[in-house]
Symmetry: C3
Subunit: 204 residues, 3 copies
């Protein structure tokens, strides 16, 4: 179940990466790279930071084909993807939660301390989008948007709490999804965001 959602999520993320690359007039190779990093970059950074080798996707070549295919197919479909924005926002929310839960699960399995587990979940959830934005040369939107990273944070805490409490894993996963997706949808609907820190002081 989690695997199925994960596959849907990396497909959707690869497509959003492809559209971002298209806005920068990249060629199809650039589109493929950005699609790949958006979808699998978060898990890559997590595995490196946790010292978990070999890295996940290197053992699953089928993931590579899936995200590259999704990125390239997004090119002719760009107009339609645009029209399906609400669907993609929903899939993206699913993906954010799936990535976060998987990241926490990996770090828990390696015996890391709780704050590291939270960070592993958040890195998995959002680092791909950060890489996409850095390579497209803009300030990462995840740092400026409606609740996004915060959703990942809440999901990570909820999931870890339930694991520590001994809640059956299926219940933990389901609850995490319910909380995360609802929170993200509510944030999008009413444009909820974290307070912004605007500071105009001179640089020293």
């Amino acid at each position: 179940m989690l695997t199925l959602i994960y596959l849907i999520a990396i497909t959707a993320e690869a497509m959003t990466g492809a559209l971002a690359a298209g806005r920068r007039n990249m060629d199809i190779f650039g589109v493929a790279v950005i699609a790949f990093l958006t979808a699998l970059g978060g898990g890559t950074v997590r595995d490196i930071v946790l010292g978990r080798f070999p890295i996940g996707w290197t053992q699953h070549p089928e993931y590579i084909y899936l995200v590259l295919g999704a990125g390239l197919i997004a090119i002719p479909l760009a107009r339609h993807i645009q029209r399906l924005t609400p669907l993609f926002l929903f899939l993206d929310a699913l993906g954010l939660v799936a990535f976060t839960v998987i990241g926490c699960d990996v770090a828990l399995g390696m015996g890391y301390a709780t704050p590291v587990v939270v960070m592993a979940g958040m890195i998995t959830g959002i680092a791909g989008g950060v890489m996409r934005d850095v390579l497209c040369n803009r300030v990462p939107v995840v740092f400026r948007q409606e609740l996004y990273a915060s959703v990942s944070l809440v999901v990570a805490f909820a999931f870890i709490l339930m694991v520590k409490l001994g809640v059956p894993q299926e219940v933990g996963i389901f609850t995490s999804f319910f909380v995360g997706v609802v929170l993200r949808m509510v944030a999008l609907r009413w444009q909820l965001g974290l307070p912004v820190f605007s500071w105009q002081g001179a640089q020293h």
Copy 2:
């Protein structure tokens, strides 16, 4: 002693990271991420490049709390931090030297060759600031400022030389701090910098 200076340093670096994030109007999550990377990013890159797992801060959750706390507390204190600029420049110089010495020490302990040890020290000293600037979408100031990376380089050479000469470690550390902090302060006072390479040739 080195640990105490290290803790002061990561606190100060986290705060400068928070201010940089504030200049880009990031939300408080973005502030926390930039604070974390500015303070602990250099050590993270060093550990990855040296193949040293698990990465340092994953074994010290208290460092995570410290830098996140420092970054967030910088938000209400921004005005005062601005006024305390000379203090922060001093703390930053301390941190640069502390990071460099620690980085060299780690690489020496793993048996790497001297140029790799120098690079490990410099990576620890400056990579955090580079990550901060890349994520804030500007050319890293460390490549353009008064002597900064050069201070790290001089400190690394001095520390390694003293280790190779068999100087007691306390003396080596103290001398490194003295040389490094004085050099940095002199560079700031008289705006000393490395020669700049300005090249307007066409791109090929």
Copy 3:
């Protein structure tokens, strides 16, 4: 033979990195860093992604001296390098192929699946240039230029195919160079590029 071409390649890449840094008015330290990353950054990323520690250049301090020297010597020679652009484009093509072949070879030796081997070759070939461009704060040209990454891709496929077919390694390497350099030169001569994906849709 491959080693000799590799040494020429990292020298040439270091010089192109230095010129890019000069266009951003970096000081000589910045020039050294960009030269280093352009030349050795691709291999570094490859080794990290493949979980191959210690990283290659940490065991070859002479490579460090070579690329730093090449980067710094490029400063007084900038005018002449500009005039030698055709030579540098040729050396750069050699380097692209050498990096790609070496990257594939490393991943094959570690037993990775074919798509991972292809990616290891391409990462080695192009990640250094991507890092150079990100640090110089521009959209990586490799995503927008004439066939460049595509050359790396074709070379990787050709090399792997020949290895799988049991072709003697010397023949495989020679053929890869022939195909790769000719393809790159043809692409430059007639400005061949991949189709570009330009997408002006609103961001969601």
